[in-house]
Symmetry: C2
Subunit: 349 residues, 2 copies
DNA sequence: AAGAGTATTGTAAACGTTTACAAAGCCGTT
DNA sequence: AACGGCTTTGTAAACGTTTACAATACTCTT
């Protein structure tokens, strides 16, 4: 039913090839022929059939993005913003964006297989890189174009963009130490995520640079959701020897910690300092506003997508390993100087 | 480079048609032939070329989902959860999901044109329906399959799923009235969104059913983000005659209101009651936990997607107009009975 | 006026499937 | 032995593009 090149060709009495050329505008066509074809196409309401074009060109003009979700109720403002950045960048370059959500695990790689082997996409965006990340190993082995948001611990080379979690967390921790804190708890993300290690290393480095030791009882692990932050927060704060400060390795967990603090009868910013990482919009509006480390998430989405697009154009990336310096955002959740924490604080301080 | 049907045919000495049939399993093929082909395919690592298949079948096996974003920094947990629901349902039925983000406006319809005219997708999901929604008008005119999350004020018939915002908001407002509140402010979403009207009607109906009048000075409009909620909250609460309760028409704005209340020196749950709508995960962890109306967002995503899939199978929907009864979730943000509000409260109570 | 060069157009193959139709082989029945 | 029916396979067209190559027509030289 839709108009095809053949229909136009019949109408203007030219061959299908000439019509194709006139419309694509790449090869030489007589000016009047082109105008004839163009107006006929417009009149008839012609729109190219992208599937036919894709089959012919052996390209899908589509990018793939698999969002790793933990649990069915997945609701992370971080990803919606990243998605917006990626999506807009792709759209501006006339690429479609194929999105799927999948929990890490055996089914996840199947999803990647589907996209790669059946050639549903031209390139992939990989986020939340993991230790010995099987996705990266697979894509490299298949020599499939991709760009990662996050580094890897594999001994391989691939294009990525990452924020310097080590520096960011180190700066943040130093800020707390400068405020007089000595017992600073830390809520890490799952250890298989590469950024968890980087950020934790930054935390520990700051402690050690100040002659403090990393107290294992003050380091707990959460799943990055607000709920996990809440649980971790209770574990850390509803006890006698609560720390005077808590750093969560992302904002969502930090918000959970703030909620837990409240429940444990502690006033954030006064009785206990809380800090996060990411600077999601809600951080500014938390009560009190949350000290955090800013990642320009939307821009990161755009950049990582732009790198992939350039890769697909056959460009060789001038800088395939981008490391962004994050920015410390000090707000009132770490306001009070030298909060004391629980009983033990005096001893350790 | 990739293995094609032709390659397999050459290898096993059969025609390409037989190979195709053996693999698809729809028509009769001799058992031994099938096994021969199957093992050859597996051995050679055959994967069908989906673009070729799509061209042939004149179907894309792809669903489209355009997320309407307001502003570049788009970060709404509501949408990430909806996306997860839609995506998982689509994936289970072997459909791809094409996602793009676009602000409402003239460019938005172009995006829909792209998807529809160039046949990039088989069907569309439309969310955040608007008054005289041009997307719906367009899709109906083109007779393009779609399902909406949200109703319309157009005088047309189309399949949709919606929550009963009127009832939900009416119940919520009644709850506040039962708590003794008389001056209840309301923060609406943009009026061109259909659900804004429904929810507001529910709010007003509850007031009127209790002999209260809707005070225009207590109704303000926000853009649905936490920041807008914050601004609206300041406008309502940082004044002499602050209301004793504030309802925001979504949770994200309600969180902003809570932040504003704090800044205006009011304690949420004691000096002022605050309520939202959606029950995003963060609502439970707000301080105090936020009273709200629950929408099973993930499930809604799945259902709305499932409706579309059935439509594409040629099924006639037994129930093309689904209205879900939302559930009131009472938490501590509306805890204190008969909060009094500012000076004027006594007069109006 | 013939030839070279250029601009424009047409022919046909290719991309990798699916499927209508035809053909071939085999079975049992009469 | 001939025939109808069934199962299995092959042939070829179709889906709608793009593009290499060939063909034609025109312009400009000499």
């Amino acid at each position: 039913m839709p108009v095809t090149l053949q229909d136009i060709a019949d109408r203007v009495g030219l061959s299908i090839a000439t019509v194709s050329r006139a419309l694509s505008g790449t090869t030489s066509v007589a000016t009047e022929t082109r105008e004839l074809v163009l107006s006929a196409a417009a009149e008839m309401g012609y729109h190219p059939n992208v599937m036919a074009r894709r089959l012919q060109k052996q390209r899908t003009d589509t990018l793939g993005f698999v969002i790793p979700t933990f649990g069915p109720r997945f609701s992370d403002p971080f990803f919606s913003e990243l998605l917006a950045g990626i999506g807009n960048e792709a759209a501006e370059h006339n690429y479609d964006l194929l999105v799927s959500t999948c929990a890490p695990g055996p089914k996840e790689l199947q999803g990647y297989h589907r996209l790669v082997e059946e050639r549903r996409v031209d390139g992939l965006l990989v986020v939340r890189t993991r230790r010995r990340d099987p996705r990266i190993a697979y894509l490299l082995e298949r020599e499939f174009p991709f760009v990662a948001f996050g580094r890897s611990d594999l001994d391989v080379d691939f294009p990525y963009l990452d924020e310097d979690g080590y520096q960011g967390m180190r700066t943040l921790t130093q800020h707390l130490i400068d405020q007089g804190h000595r017992r600073i708890a830390y809520i890490s993300g799952p250890w298989e995520l590469v950024f968890s290690q980087h950020r934790f290393d930054g935390y520990r480095a700051a402690l050690e640079a100040n002659g403090l030791t990393c107290d294992d009882s003050l380091v707990v692990t959460g799943c990055l959701t607000d709920m996990c932050g809440y649980e971790a927060g209770r574990e850390l704060l509803c006890r006698e020897d609560w720390p005077s400060a808590v750093i969560a390795c992302n904002d969502l967990m930090a918000l959970g910690v703030m909620s837990a603090a409240q429940e444990c009868g502690l006033k954030v910013g006064q009785d206990v300092a809380v800090a996060g990482f990411d600077d999601i919009p809600l951080a500014k509006l938390a009560q009190p506003p949350l000290t955090t480390v800013r990642q320009p998430i939307y821009q990161i989405g755009r950049r990582v997508c732009s790198m992939l697009l350039r890769l697909l154009q056959g460009e060789i990336l001038e800088n395939p390993h981008v490391l962004l310096e994050p920015e410390l955002i000090i707000r009132n959740s770490t306001q009070k100087i030298a909060a004391k924490g629980g009983d033990i604080a005096d001893r350790s301080g």
